[in-house]
Amino acid sequence: MPRRKKGAILPIEYDILTAGLDSQSTTGSFYGFALAQTLAEGGHALTAHGTLYKALSRMTEAGLLTAEWEDPSSAESAGRPRRRLYTVTGAGILALSRRPVAAPATSTKTAQA
């Protein structure tokens, strides 16, 4: 598998930043499956587990997102496992604003991967 350039942002990561910003403007944060649903809007398949969580993990390490586990009591009262809640950081917003113009706004291929 080819190594990516340090600091390079993949199309799916731009898509995550875009979808994440949309979600957090209404709910304050977003979690994995909700993000997969947003990325799948328009009839695409849900993003694969590995693709989604690998990207989220890398973006968190790169400082584009922050992640924290939901309060256990909220999850317990809702009768579901705890969600890992993500928010797009200032660095993420800056990276999105510097997205190369040539790249498409939404990559259908990455959403299907």
């Binding site: 499956f33 849900l46 993003t47 694969a48 587990h49 590995g50 989604l52 890992r84």
Partner: protein, 251 residues
């Protein structure tokens, strides 16, 4: 158990498998995130899809993500090993170094005689001699795969030097060993015969099928097993002693 529950169980077993050997917090975090995803997925889609279609969708998401899962594991494992090197005891460092040198020696043992044999095959030709048929022993082109196997053994050394690519080095060594086993022994039947005789001597089984099996097929696979054992031993030493063997599988 419903089809959805079976699919969820399979996904979580796969998570346990690819996160095995990683630091426990990393493995636990990945499992918890997938548990949440699987739950949310089932809740969100249960009214839209039949149980079997939902199970298929869950399995599909998991299957399509396998390359990314393995790439994630590889990245986490490299990071863990790099950190582990700073906490190893002197005896662990010595043991790792010895095993690493064994792999270098193996690469040399494959590359040097392999090169000599390749040159010998290349310059010893029976072409034009009475009874020679095209494609039989004595064609200089038979040296090409042997040279390739030597090149693979040398490439293995380059991979072995770096901890993060060591497993690739062992794979390259194994390929080289199998190639040399096959191409050298089929080109030099006398070598194969002598080795076979040495191997069967303790068993006193001097019949031709045994000689053919031992001589032609056994040395390469034996080396592959030896390389895998050495790599496994290095990995066991490098694994954090405080970490259980089945990381993440006990939740």
């Amino acid at each position: 158990m419903t089809p959805v529950e079976r699919a969820q169980g399979r996904v979580l077993r796969w998570v346990d498998r690819y996160s095995k050997g990683l630091p426990l917090p990393v493995a636990e975090e990945r499992r918890a995130e997938l548990e949440s995803d699987l739950h949310e997925h089932a809740v969100a889609r249960r009214d839209e899809l039949s149980p079997s279609a939902l199970a298929r969708e869950i399995r599909g998401r998991s299957l399509r993500g396998i390359p990314a899962d393995l790439a994630w594991r590889d990245r986490e494992m490299r990071r863990f090993r790099a950190a582990r090197l700073t906490t190893m005891t002197p005896s662990e460092l010595r043991a790792t170094s010895r095993l690493q040198h064994l792999l270098y020696i193996a690469a040399g043992v494959l590359a040097v005689p392999g090169f000599v044999v390749a040159v010998r095959i290349a310059i010893t030709t029976n072409v034009g001699t009475p009874g020679h048929a095209p494609g039989h022993y004595g064609e200089p082109t038979q040296a090409v795969p042997v040279f390739v196997a030597v090149g693979v053994a040398l490439a293995a050394v380059a991979f072995l030097i770096n901890t993060s690519t060591r497993a690739f080095g062992v794979i390259a060594l194994s390929i080289s060993a199998l190639m040399l086993n096959w191409f050298v022994f089929t080109s030099l039947s006398s070598v194969s015969y002598q080795l076979s005789m040495a191997l069967v001597w303790p068993f006193r089984t001097f019949h031709l099928p045994s000689i053919a099996v031992y001589g032609y097929f056994l040395p390469g696979p034996l080396l592959v097993v030896a390389f895998a054992l050495i790599l496994g031993r290095i990995h066991r030493i490098e694994r954090n002693p405080a970490q259980p063997d089945e990381a993440g599988a006990e939740q």
